[in-house]
């Protein structure tokens, strides 16, 4: 049975459109679990929460190297699929959408072999949220960063660029056997 070993807690307390979590992926573990909760926007316009990776030099990887496939599960409408290759982030890996408190999100991301420089990094993710005054949704997705390099961290970013968030917690764990 695997065990979760606590690595890092990131508390979001000020208005921002990006959050970088650095130096959390090391040679100590092959697999990592990222748990997020309570990320809500400053304003009333809802926004998707995406993910990028951070390389061993501390730089956010913003190149068109991300592939993903998402199932959007909507409580009020038909489900839909969103898939793409060569994108600049993992779309909605943190949240299908989030909004102003009391609306918010919760989710988990599993990251496989990020630190190993000879391997590409793969992720799986799932999240639940409430937004837009009446929308409850979920999402399940898979993603891959199509460039073999050592990854040591990640970035949370809102997709619009001008719809910042100001609350929430991100927890990072290593998965050990």
């Amino acid at each position: 049975m695997s065990k979760l070993k606590f690595i890092h807690k990131e508390t979001i307390s000020g208005s921002t459109s990006t959050t970088n979590v650095t130096d959390v992926f090391t040679s100590s573990y092959d697999t990592y679990k990222i748990i997020s909760t309570g990320i809500s926007t400053v304003g009333t316009a809802y926004v998707d929460l995406n993910m990028r990776l951070i390389d061993s030099g501390g730089s956010v990887v913003s190149a068109s190297e991300y592939d993903y496939g998402n199932l959007n599960m909507l409580s009020w409408d038909a489900f839909s699929e969103t898939r793409a290759t060569g994108q600049t982030s993992f779309l909605r890996a943190f949240s299908e959408s989030t909004d102003q408190e009391a609306e918010s999100q919760g989710g988990e991301i599993t990251v496989y072999s990020p630190y190993e420089s000879g391997l590409i990094t793969m992720i799986t993710y799932g999240n639940s949220q409430r937004y837009g005054g009446s929308y409850s949704s979920g999402l399940r997705g898979i993603g891959v960063h199509q460039s073999a390099e050592s990854i040591t961290g990640f970035q949370l970013l809102e997709s619009n660029g001008s719809r910042p968030y100001d609350s929430g917690v991100i927890l990072v764990y290593g998965v050990s056997s």
Binding site: K3, L4, F6, T37, G38, M73, L74, S128, S136
Partner: protein, 171 residues
């Protein structure tokens, strides 16, 4: 998964029970994990979950669900609805050596935001087919929730040995 998981509440049934309630969610942790391994006494019973506030199960019509049912005997099914009075999702659970295994990640229970759950389950249903859900569940009330209640269709009971556990995740 242990290590960073702290057991908050648990029930391992020594007698049959029509419902089980786990409580103890507070601001001590940001995230909680609930695991269920349960079997109904009677075959072909639906399994339901409600949130609790102050230890009392909420029966309001504030439960939204969006989930995908995966199964071996037919096409996958999109299941979603709004404003129900329960997270009534897990259908036709088999008895005997069948039953349901359920894992739920609980977010925003400890604060005044909407309580949300990201869950995965697997069951053998009453027709002996493998069935599972990946689902997302929201109780649309802006106040803290302190636990979950589990119960079955038609006041059926859970068998002896059914397990219900609630963990906090160390931060």
């Amino acid at each position: 998964m242990s290590g960073s998981l702290v057991l908050i509440d648990s029930e391992i049934l020594t007698g049959t029970s029509a419902s089980v309630t786990l409580t103890g969610i507070s601001t001590t942790y940001n995230i909680y994990l609930c695991e269920v391994n349960a079997v109904p006494t009677t075959d072909d019973k639906n399994f339901y979950v409600r949130v609790t506030k102050g230890g009392t199960a909420q029966t309001d019509s504030e439960y939204d669900v969006a989930s995908l049912g995966l199964r071996t005997d037919a096409s996958f099914v999109d299941d979603s609805w709004t404003n129900s009075d329960t997270f009534g999702q897990w259908s036709a659970i088999g008895n005997g050596n069948e039953g349901i295994k359920l894992q739920m990640w609980l977010s925003n229970f400890q604060n005044a935001k909407y309580s949300t759950i990201t869950a995965s389950s697997v069951e053998i249903n009453a027709t002996a087919n493998l069935f599972g859900y990946v689902g997302n569940y929201t109780h649309t009330v802006e106040s803290a929730s302190d636990g979950l209640q589990f119960y079955l269709e038609s006041s059926d009971t859970f068998v002896v040995g059914s397990e219900f556990k609630l963990y906090g995740l160390k931060k």
